[in-house]
Symmetry: C2
């Protein structure tokens, strides 16, 4: 077992060669790549895999909360390294997507008027705008 194989463990998910590869490729690409972009990366590696497998791996990783999906409008789904709670900012000047963290101690229910006792299983926040 190599030194940094630890971070490739995902509780409850069998880490196949392909899943490890996809996960690692995403960890090395901070700018929220699409499935196709990750597939292109795979093609350049020593053991390429099919596009269907890239989709399958990403789905498995999302399902096990190891990575996040990012949907901006109807654009192709992008994938995010950051498994922690956060939102996304789509900079209309550059077209890039940035992570936006919550202010410490705050949460969605601070500003949203949800019925008492609502169970939130997931959320997605995307902001479009321009940086100063």
């Amino acid at each position: 077992m190599k030194a940094n194989d630890q971070q490739l463990q995902v509780p409850g998910l069998r880490m196949t060669k392909q899943r490890k590869e996809v996960y690692r490729a995403l960890m090395e690409n901070a700018d929220h790549p699409t499935a196709s972009e990750l597939y292109e990366t795979m093609q350049k590696s020593n053991d390429p895999m099919s596009l269907a497998t890239v989709y399958n791996c990403l789905e498995a990783l999302v399902e096990h909360d190891a990575i996040k999906q990012v949907n901006v409008d109807r654009n192709p789904t992008r994938y995010c390294q950051n498994a922690a709670q956060h939102g996304h900012f789509h900079d209309q000047n550059t077209g890039t997507i940035h992570d936006i963290n919550f202010k410490p101690g705050t949460q969605l229910t601070d500003i949203l008027d949800l019925p008492e006792g609502t169970e939130i299983t997931d959320f997605e926040i995307t902001i479009k705008g321009r940086l100063p």
Copy 2:
């Protein structure tokens, strides 16, 4: 001019027969219909229109801030009556989508750590979960 034609005015947008129809159909359907669902509604009316026109009209109305788009994951885009700032709750028990209002006096920047001076042009908040 009929009594309730007033609400069909959208500043800066020529309100054609089709745009009025699409707008009215959406105002009469509170459960966030898709373009196809609105198209089906149109077919049952006295003057049906093409699906492309439904898409065109919805796009024009969105562009002029008369209605909103709602994207939940990769599902077909839904359209929302409510032009005011709000989020959406996707109830996983029923599959329905509800509007979620901001608590009075609060805003996104209360909880999100955006760079000082960021200009927000649009945002989308979707929450998945279960009601009590």
